[in-house]
Assembly symmetry: C2
């Protein structure tokens, strides 16, 4: 079993990804992003991304109903269906599902964030949360019948509302169930970079031990990335391949260790 996480960048070579995936001998499950498509649509619709700041000073995107609409359009609609189309053209019988469909990905909605507004402290609650459960019977039903699941947000919360969620958390949850021996992450960089501004600084090999050490050395976005990587090993041994989704053969090259290998 292989889990493929396709980043949502504009330059990901989806046609190349689809062609490569058609050559895989093992079954696989795809989780994809759509940031670029979402941002582009957002801009065209003249919507401003809402950012709120908690009283503890932490800033985050506020996912209101409009945000979920946008997510349904960009992730579950445009990107999911274009990926399914490319896979079908490559000979892979893909089925695209959001987390809502058959409750494929159930989550728990965040309880809310304390904010200060007009001199008053109040709690605001958006449509976001953490994935908690994969519908394994449905996932297996598809896989056993030759269908490749292509998953995207939104996911469904405990009251059956659509909520936003992090793809890293979805992949980690999937891995806790599937225990895939390989996880491929396709991004818009040649691998895990020691210096994010230097594409020549690809770290070729990272061990789990090194991940722990790295986590204590860095912060911000980098810390979250490393934490997400560490979570993938909680379900047991696996190998994570991080590689450039813009390459001609993103998946084949990733498996041939052209990017970063974490194990």
């Amino acid at each position: 079993m292989i889990i493929i996480k396709i980043g949502g960048g504009r330059e990901i070579n989806l046609k190349g990804v689809a062609a490569d995936l058609a050559l895989l001998k093992e079954p696989f499950v795809i989780v994809h992003g759509a940031n670029a498509a979402r941002d582009e649509l957002d801009e065209k619709l003249n919507k401003q991304k809402k950012v709120i700041t908690s009283i503890s000073g932490y800033s985050s995107v506020f996912s209101d109903e409009d945000t979920i609409d946008l997510m349904m359009m960009a992730y579950a609609g445009l990107k999911n269906k274009r990926i399914v189309e490319l896979l079908q053209q490559a000979g892979v019988n893909a089925v695209g599902l959001s987390g809502l469909d058959g409750k494929m990905i159930e989550g728990k909605r965040n309880t809310g964030i304390k904010v200060r507004e007009e001199g008053k402290t109040k709690i605001v609650r958006d449509f976001s949360g953490k994935p908690k459960k994969i519908n394994m019977p449905l996932l297996n039903l598809l896989l056993q019948n030759g269908y490749i699941p292509v998953l995207s947000v939104p996911i469904i919360d405990e009251n059956n509302f659509a909520i936003n969620s992090e793809n890293d958390d979805i992949v980690a949850l999937l891995q806790s169930e599937l225990k895939a021996d390989k996880i491929i992450q396709l991004i818009e960089a040649p691998g895990f970079l020691a210096d994010k501004n230097n594409p020549d600084s690809v770290v070729k090999n990272i061990s789990q031990k090194e991940l722990e050490a790295l986590e204590n050395q860095v912060d911000g976005r980098m810390k979250r990335k490393i934490l997400a990587l560490r979570k993938l090993f909680e379900a047991g041994p696996t190998t994570v391949f991080i590689y450039d989704g813009r390459a001609e053969h993103p998946v084949i090259d990733a498996l041939n260790e052209k990017g970063t290998k974490v194990e």
Copy 2:
């Protein structure tokens, strides 16, 4: 078996539809539109619907790649997932699929339209076509495992490209396979109107014989509607209920013959 066709109008009471559907004892399959959502998005994105006129004088919408993008966003994305969400909230384990997913609805792309451009006759071909085949093993797999399929365009053509198609043709094709004893069509009118401008002109009962006679009396949009109705009977006897999707109980009322019954 019941087939539910939900119109794509803005005022359809989807929450009421979902609540009613949760009460049905029989299995059902949904096909939905999203015209209003598509047009709204279209307008916001400042795209002009492209209309072409053939040399024989017939005008039709030209579905280019942008049109398919829009369709993926409005139909397979926004509308499909909001319907799935409402069904899940009502306790129906819905799975939303476009015709691309698992090749649920395969079609044949239109060959092209002869147009006159700058004094020359040329053939233009868009991404549209006719549905030809339903993936019945996948549809049955879902139904047999307790999932309710919620289907939308785009569908997939013979070369695995996403194409636009008429929902009436999809419903007729579904009926040729499912032979549902009931077909419910929810629209933004209280039933089949003798005079489209008079909501009090609902025709309560129409027989198949009357459909044939009507088809010869009318033309344009009305003729196409009647032809679509007639096609539903080609697979054998059924009852078609046409009713107001804006009602409080669209499905229950439709089955209670509050609108038009065709049989």
